[in-house]
Symmetry: C2
Subunit: 297 residues, 2 copies
Amino acid sequence: MLFGEHAVLHGKRALVCAVTSRLTVRLGPRTDRRVCIESALGRHETSLDAPEPSIPFRFVMAALAHGLAGLPGGFDLAIDSEFSPTVGLGSSAAVTVATLAALDAHAGRTTDREALVRAAREVIRRVQGAGSGADAAASVFGGIVAYRADPMAIRRIAQAPPLTLVYSGAKTPTPEVIRRVESARAAMPAVFNAIYEAMNRVAEEATAAIEQANWTRTGALMNVAQGLMDAIGVNDAALSSIVHALRADPAVLGAKISGSGLGDCVVALGRPVRPDPALLEIPVCISPDGVVVERDA
Amino acid sequence: MLFGEHAVLHGKRALVCAVTSRLTVRLGPRTDRRVCIESALGRHETSLDAPEPSIPFRFVMAALAHGLAGLPGGFDLAIDSEFSPTVGLGSSAAVTVATLAALDAHAGRTTDREALVRAAREVIRRVQGAGSGADAAASVFGGIVAYRADPMAIRRIAQAPPLTLVYSGAKTPTPEVIRRVESARAAMPAVFNAIYEAMNRVAEEATAAIEQANWTRTGALMNVAQGLMDAIGVNDAALSSIVHALRADPAVLGAKISGSGLGDCVVALGRPVRPDPALLEIPVCISPDGVVVERDA
């Protein structure tokens, strides 16, 4: 997530991008009505007619419940992920989108991209209670996506600036961070609404800046966005020191928390000329591709 | 300054407090028309009829130019300050207010407190180009003051919570910080206006929280305000690490930059139970007294 975290849950604009780590879901039709899911996380075998839940495959099973209609029969599903196991980076959205697309293909349905975002968002919300759908939009469309949930608006931006991603060494689960922010917001709604309004404005101006490839301005807007993340209470000492270490590099144009905060990652615009070996960098590039459905010949 | 720095220059609400460091101006009438000013900074001697400027006494000389009318004759002015020489803490406002009050007394004029704030603000603006008048309001009224510049609104709050003040080790002159913030604002006025609106809201809610002696809420609002200061670009790595170090103490309810930023001080609500010896603490208490005019018997 580049801009608009948390505010996007309240109808504000966000900017999100797809990274080159890819997640592949391979669906092989079966002649019976069994469903066998397999990944590095383990194996889950159940039936199409009475599907049993599975914690490691909760997004896959929720996607199956959503896309059940019209399936001709059972299948084997092999999930292969290049995503870092410690860092989220929207892997839940990626596996949800990929599973839904594979199920659509299995059922012989044509996949409309906006409908796929809506379906993935519904699945994610069912699993974790909240979800803007922004990660799903990035997974579906690829590249940089300007996103608003309601009324849904998706605009893809054909730019791929160099990013630096640094892991803070710890992560609070997103639903837990959302709970804390919502509780703070409930105590001072007018203050949070004003901050979300500022975040919305920042995301709008960042959309224009990225479209114009104005990276100095995009970086300055990332710095503003970081302050707004701090204001809603999702910054911490570790994230803050990474942000300041990255900004001290002359080739870094801006740096902020990426994602819901209270741990996880910092994203910076630009590649440091003097990389700090103490920073746990995760190599990422913006991927121009979103979901791709391939059929075996 | 507790809340609303920078935003207060744009008509938004701020909260400011007077601290126990006092500055004393002693005016002794002379029978000639000479003016002799003396303090730890040096001595400046000039005449009432053709006053010459002085860099160290620029606020005093500007106050003299403002309060010249009706003076019966020359005077000796002795300035004695308990303010730390490295940390500003509104000493310019204090010396301006004290000088204007002393000149009023010398001219036999009655000092109206709101008029004194207006006069001091005018003098400060003439010297440094910009100035909200919030520091002057605190110097005049004492205690905690909720302040808005235009239309001027001053409300004194009868509370004196314990504060901790930590010097960051460096300071960018306030007019220079204001120039940088104004230049960033000129590049993205809508974003800054939205942030100033959020600051205004925070200052309003902090006024209510302080009036109710709700210190947990006041501290939480200080943390929000710190994020908004970060968003407008006046936070830095040193200030940020002081803020996080203070917040880590269980008795500290909130911490933020105090003043224009890019150095200077961090203010925290509460007294640390585990004070960090690495922090350069400046002992302060909120002073219930503002300007006091005493006449020799």
